[in-house]
Structure formats: structure tokens, C-alpha cells
């Protein structure tokens, strides 16, 4: 039986090899890297964007990309330090369920024999899936989950590239400090946050960071997400007249706030909208015109021609027809860091990859994200993860802070509809 089957198996392999030879692509047994993403369920659209980005990453790594030579593994085909073997992505659907995430992590480790895992999008699922990787001694690189406790567990095999709550709060405070030096008052800060996990946790960390720097939050207005009316909250702001307002809202609320502020003619001098709802394309399309000068955070800036982010975004756009968003880019960055470590390990041994991850020291020009770099502390958190601030101009966000990576000049005060 076995002998009879071999020629059959060999035929497609030969075809593949022929194609690979023609393109100068990687050769040898593929090295498998697993990724756990929500391909079904409520977060399926994010998971499928990530899937497209990771498939793009595999294609770029497996074929020489002279245009992206600044990034690790791009100039060559496959893993040059491991005999040029190609990369193979094994995607698994975690279905938004913590138990399924564990099953799939176990399957990828024991059945598919992946050498490293990435994912798993929602913080709770990253938590359970990485516990399986930890027990089996397989490196787990996360690029997107922000729950602080993930890197507080004392794990030896868990690494995270994304900035987390404290990093976000820190950039807001540094930015406001600079605005103050620039001559604008920023003493009176108001936070308006939706009252579930996202809004509450970000508001808390901003408050703690501010207080740690001797700045007090004058006013905090929590509200129920998906409100039908927010005029009471806007009136409250209008009366208090804060110097800075920070919104932490999902899309529908973000749009509603922009419209209500327009209706009541209220414009704070500095308006910050924290990522989520304000980064959503539907916010920009439907309320962008009345929120000019809004400041938002992002760590992915594809607006500078010639940058890695610009090129990757262009490739992603031809593939999917969509712009790459911040979350997708962070997921892709985590995956690329894992692949770079595998190559530097020069082996598919888990311990060698773990050691390579610990020795990771990537520079800004080697990344697609606008981080200061990638370097892990003893807990596995990227100490060079950083956030950019962008400002809404027309229907585009342009990068305005920090100054060294900015592509446009910061414009204050907030213009709104003018």
C-alpha cells in the first residue's frame, strides 16, 4: 500500500517544488506556526481580517521581497538560518470560546506539531490557550490582547508585543504635558467612558497614571453603552468646561456624541477619542466632518509612503480591498516577531526559540507597527511597545505625536464642524 501511494504523493510535491524553483522560493519541509483566531462567532470579522494578514505574511516570508528588505526574513525565502525551509501557517478557529481555544491549542501542538503559537485575540482566550502552550513548553507570541494580567502570571513561554493599558495612559499624559508646555491649559481633564470592561479599564488606568503624575481627573462620566441619547452627558461637560475631554466609546456612541456636541454647539479645546469607536471607518465616514481635529491613538500608521506599514497596507489592500486596521496590524506584527525568533533560533527546538524570543531586539525600522521596538522583559511584555497619536483631518487620520514619527503638524484647538 505504502509503496503504491508514494508516487501519488510525490506528484504534487514535485509540482510544488517546480513552482518553488521557478520563483526562487523556500524549499524543504515546511516549519509550522499556529494561529488561533475567532473565525466564527461575534468577533469573526476581526479574525478573518487577521487570517488574510497572516496569509499575506506567509507569502512575503516564503518568497524574496527586496522591497521590504528592512524587515527580518523579507529579503530571503523561508527561514534562511534553517536551511531555507518554508513557513506554513496553521489556522484554527477558537469560536470565541475559552475551552475551544484550549482544545485547538492542544491540537496544533500535539497533532500539527507547530513550533510556536500565536493569537488568540480575546484576552480570556489568550489566557486559556497560552496555559496549554506553557504546560507543553511551546512558545506563545501574542500581538493583540491587552489585559494586563496576561504577562503577570510568571509564564516562561508567553510573549506579548502589543502596548497595554499603562502604555496608552502614559502617551496621553506625555502628550498633554507637551500641550501644556506649548501654552495651553490642560489642568482640567474630563473622562467620558462607556461602563463595560473596555471603557472602565481604560478610564481606570488613565486616572491612576494621571494621579501618579500629580494630575487629577476633574470629572468622570460613565454612561451605558449603546445609549439612545447622550444630551445629559454633553450638558454636564458644557457646564464643567474642562480643558481636555477623553472619550472611551464604541462606534455608535462615538457617532452620537459627535452629533450631540454639534447640536449643542459644544467644543472642548482638546478632544481625545480613544481608538475603538473613533477608529472605526463608519465613525469617520458618518461623523468625521463634524469632528475635525479629534485626537485618537493608534500604533499603525500607513500614511507615510516608503514605510513598511505603507507597503504592507498596499499589499493587504490589493489582496482584500480593505485598509489594514490597527488590530489586524498588531496581530500580524506578533506573528512576524515569532517567525523572526524561529529563524534566529536556527532550529525548531522550543527551547531555542524561547531563548531567541528572550533575545529579541527589533528596531523601529524592522517593524510594521509604530513601536519604539520589540524587546521583552522578564515577564514577556514588550518594553518598547508604544502608541502614536493621530489627528482627524478631513476623512483621514494623520500622525501628529510623538514628533519624531509624526507626518503632520498638531493643530489645536479642536475644530469640530468648522
Amino acid at each position: 500500500m505504502t509503496i503504491g501511494r508514494r508516487p501519488l504523493l510525490a506528484a504534487p510535491a514535485l509540482l510544488l517544488a517546480g513552482r518553488a524553483f521557478a520563483q526562487g522560493a523556500a524549499q524543504g519541509t515546511p516549519i509550522k506556526v499556529g494561529s488561533l483566531m475567532p473565525l466564527t462567532g461575534v468577533a469573526a470579522s476581526a479574525g478573518n481580517s487577521a487570517k488574510a494578514a497572516l496569509e499575506l505574511a506567509v507569502e512575503l516570508i516564503n518568497t524574496p521581497q527586496p522591497d521590504l528588505a528592512a524587515m527580518p526574513l523579507m529579503a530571503t525565502a523561508g527561514f534562511p538560518a534553517i536551511g531555507g525551509r518554508p513557513l506554513q501557517l496553521v489556522m484554527a478557529d477558537q469560536q470565541g470560546n475559552p475551552s475551544v481555544a484550549q482544545n485547538q491549542a492542544l491540537r496544533l501542538i500535539t497533532q500539527e506539531r507547530v513550533v510556536a503559537l500565536t493569537g488568540a485575540y480575546q484576552s480570556g482566550l489568550t489566557l486559556t490557550a497560552s496555559a496549554i502552550a506553557e504546560r507543553h513548553g511551546i512558545p506563545f507570541v501574542n500581538g493583540e490582547s491587552v489585559a494586563t494580567n496576561l504577562t503577570e502570571r510568571g509564564f516562561q513561554w508567553f510573549f506579548r508585543t502589543t502596548p497595554i493599558g499603562p502604555d496608552i495612559a502614559a502617551i496621553y499624559m506625555e502628550f498633554l504635558q507637551q500641550v501644556r508646555v506649548g501654552g495651553r491649559p490642560v489642568a482640567k481633564i474630563a473622562i467620558v467612558n462607556e461602563n463595560t470592561e473596555y471603557g472602565t479599564s481604560i478610564a481606570d488606568v488613565i486616572r491612576r497614571t494621571a494621579e501618579g503624575r500629580g494630575v487629577s481627573i476633574a470629572l468622570q462620566i460613565p454612561y451605558a453603552a449603546n445609549s439612545a441619547d447622550v444630551s445629559a452627558q454633553v450638558l454636564q461637560l458644557k457646564e464643567a468646561q474642562p480643558d481636555v475631554v477623553i472619550f472611551i466609546s464604541y462606534t455608535s456612541d462615538a457617532i452620537l456624541y459627535a452629533r450631540t456636541m454639534r447640536a449643542q454647539g459644544y467644543r472642548p479645546p482638546v478632544l481625545i477619542g480613544d481608538n475603538s469607536g473613533f477608529s472605526d471607518d463608519s465613525f469617520v465616514q458618518s461623523a468625521g466632518d463634524i469632528a475635525q481635529g479629534l485626537i485618537n491613538r493608534s500604533a499603525f500608521d500607513a500614511s507615510r509612503p516608503g514605510s513598511n506599514a505603507f507597503k504592507i497596507n498596499a499589499l493587504y489592500k490589493t489582496r482584500t480591498g480593505r485598509e489594514m486596521d490597527d488590530t489586524t496590524a498588531r496581530i500580524m506584527q506578533g506573528f512576524l516577531v515569532a517567525c523572526d525568533a524561529i529563524n534566529r533560533a536556527g532550529s525548531t527546538q522550543p527551547a531555542a526559540i524561547q531563548a531567541a524570543l528572550r533575545a529579541t531586539d527589533l528596531k523601529p525600522e524592522q517593524l510594521i507597527m509604530g513601536y519604539r521596538g520589540v524587546k521583552f522583559d522578564a515577564k514577556g511584555q514588550n518594553i518598547n511597545a508604544s502608541v502614536l497619536l493621530v489627528q482627524l483631518r478631513g476623512r483621514d487620520y494623520v500622525s501628529v505625536y510623538p514628533a519624531d514619527t509624526a507626518t503632520a503638524q498638531l493643530e489645536l484647538p479642536y475644530k469640530g464642524w468648522e
Partner: protein, 330 residues
């Protein structure tokens, strides 16, 4: 043919068959070295455990609860809150989860068991959803983020194993206790009462069956075991959030697993779990990259086929096949 076999011989044959099945259940995970299959086995036991617990109320007593996740969630949250607040091994929270579940079962059961048919089902859905919303809005219960167990096992008591085998045997042992109870109950007065209630509650009442009380007894036992299943789940997975511990899909899964195998039969839930859980895992593994969501298509098809053609599940189909065989043997 079958008519010529004497009754003792038939029951001896059944005993041999049962012994064989039991032996197979005990031994197969040791023969399979693949850890993923072993874990699927453990999940089959867990699904069979919660579905068998549901079966007491939904199958035997015919009161279709679609809010059983309420008790599952009590167990899961009690385990992990015990760890979060007092650093207990997760399983130490199980008795508290069970106690809370029993209390809730009384509170829920007294008013809702008076309701009939789909009113009872709707009331249970509402209560479970209420519990989920309360947890989402309570930061002390982990809110929407959820709570986790010990990241790194501290001792054996944490029930945190690398191999899925211990889970398989622990879940299996609890399931065996529950099935023994169910078997005993089926032959005792309680079983007859419950079947009478399921058949025609008004008639049962008029014959003097204390329907309200026995339905509540069934709900209490069911809630206790469902809660224990929740605690064991939490010990294995080490994390629970409102969706995975109190989401309505879990309640629905208990119903589907029981209905597929045969609601109101002793081994129906185990058979249902042994079919559905591997199906779910293997379709996900096979289509993980591309044809995702096929699991839900299969679920939907099973619900439609069972409710249209065999409301009694596989047990009914088996009985029909036997009857057909007997007719044609003559």
C-alpha cells in the same frame, strides 16, 4: 427469534454488553496515545455529565429547562471566585456552588414549576440571562472580562494536569454516580411519579401524585450535578467569563445532546455527547482554516431532523428499528 430467548438469558446478555461497554470506556483512553483524542474524550464525559443532569428535569420529568446554564455558571464561578478571593484550589469552591445552585433551584423552581410547557422554558431562559447580565455588570465577579484560576498549578488539589486523562476519569466517575442515581430513581417511586407527570400532569395529580414536590426534587438533584459539572469545567479550563459560563448556547447544548441520544433515557445523554462532541471538534479541526461554521450547520440540521422525524432521539430510532426487525422476523 428474540421471543424464543428467555428473560434471564436476555438480562444476562445485557449485563455482558454493559460490562463490555464499561470496560471499553475505561480502557480506550489508555490505548490511544493521542492527547487531543484523550481531551475530546474528557469533553465527551463533561458534556454527558451536564446533559445527564439536565435529563432528570428535561427528560424524565418533561420540564424543558433552557436555563440550566444558571447552575453550571454557579459551579464554575464558585470555583474560580474561591481561588480569586481566598486562593483556594478551584475544586474547593464546588460545595459552595452546589449550595448556591440548590438555593437558586428552590427560588426558581417554586414559582416556575407551576408554569406549564413553554412558559417554564421561557422563565428559565429569562432567569439565566438575568444572571448573565448581573455578572457582566459586577466588577467583583469579573464583569465582562471573566475570572481565571491558578496560572501555574500549585499542588495536586488544583486539578491542573498536563494530560487530559485524569480529567477523563474524574468526569467519568462523577457521571457514573449520576447515572447510578438516575437508574435507581427510574425504578423507584420517584421515577414513576416523574414519568406520570411527563405523561399527563393533571391526570397524575388527580391520582394523588405530589407533582409540584417531585418536580422540585428532580430540579434539585439536577441543579446540584450541573453545578458540579461547572466546577469541574472551571478546574480544567481555568477561566470563566459570562459567555462561556452563563451563555445560553450552553443550555441549548445540554438540550441538544440529550435530545439526540434520547431524552428521558438513562444512556441517551452519553450517546448524544459521544456523537456530538467529537463531531464538533473534528469538523472544527478539519475545516478550521476555511469552511468554518460547519459545526453550527450540523447542529441546526440535527435539531430539525430530530424534532421532525424522531422527537425521542436515537433511543426512539433504535426502538423503531427493533420493532421493525421483530415484525419482519416473523
Amino acid at each position: 427469534m428474540s421471543a424464543s430467548i428467555t428473560a434471564p438469558a436476555r438480562s444476562a446478555g445485557r449485563l455482558v454488553f454493559a460490562a463490555f461497554v464499561l470496560l471499553a470506556l475505561l480502557v480506550w483512553p489508555l490505548l490511544v496515545e493521542n492527547v487531543f483524542y484523550q481531551r475530546v474524550g474528557a469533553l465527551v464525559m463533561l458534556a454527558a455529565l451536564s446533559a445527564s443532569a439536565w435529563n432528570l428535569v428535561g427528560g424524565y420529568a418533561g420540564q424543558i429547562s433552557i436555563g440550566h446554564v444558571l447552575f453550571f455558571g454557579c459551579g464554575a464561578y464558585a470555583s474560580l471566585l474561591g481561588f480569586t478571593w481566598f486562593e483556594w484550589p478551584p475544586i474547593m469552591g464546588a460545595p459552595f456552588g452546589i449550595a448556591l445552585s440548590l438555593l437558586l433551584a428552590v427560588l426558581v423552581g417554586l414559582p416556575t414549576l407551576r408554569l406549564k410547557g413553554h412558559y417554564f422554558s421561557m422563565a428559565t431562559i429569562a432567569l439565566a440571562e438575568l444572571a448573565r447580565i448581573i455578572v457582566v455588570n459586577s466588577p467583583s465577579l469579573g464583569g465582562g472580562v471573566g475570572i481565571s484560576g491558578p496560572a501555574i498549578p500549585r499542588s495536586m488539589a488544583d486539578l491542573s494536569f498536563i494530560s487530559p486523562l485524569p480529567y477523563y476519569y474524574i468526569f467519568g466517575a462523577v457521571l457514573a454516580v449520576l447515572l447510578l442515581f438516575t437508574w435507581w430513581m427510574g425504578r423507584a417511586r420517584m421515577g414513576f411519579y416523574l414519568r406520570a407527570i411527563r405523561g399527563q400532569e393533571r391526570a397524575a395529580r388527580s391520582l394523588g401524585v405530589p407533582a409540584q414536590r417531585y418536580k422540585l426534587y428532580a430540579l434539585l438533584v439536577s441543579a446540584g450535578f450541573t453545578s458540579l459539572a461547572g466546577s469541574l469545567y472551571a478546574a480544567m479550563v481555568g477561566f470563566v467569563d459570562p459567555d462561556s459560563g452563563l451563555g445560553i448556547l450552553l443550555s441549548v447544548k445540554m438540550v441538544i445532546v440529550s435530545a439526540l441520544g434520547g431524552a428521558g433515557t438513562l444512556f441517551g445523554p452519553l450517546v448524544g455527547a459521544a456523537i456530538l462532541v467529537p463531531l464538533e471538534e473534528f469538523t472544527n479541526a478539519a475545516f478550521g482554516g476555511d469552511g468554518t461554521g460547519i459545526t453550527y450547520v450540523v447542529y441546526g440540521a440535527i435539531i430539525m431532523l430530530i424534532s421532525r422525524y424522531a422527537p425521542g432521539g436515537l433511543a426512539e430510532i433504535l426502538a423503531r428499528l427493533k420493532a421493525w426487525g421483530a415484525r419482519h422476523a416473523r
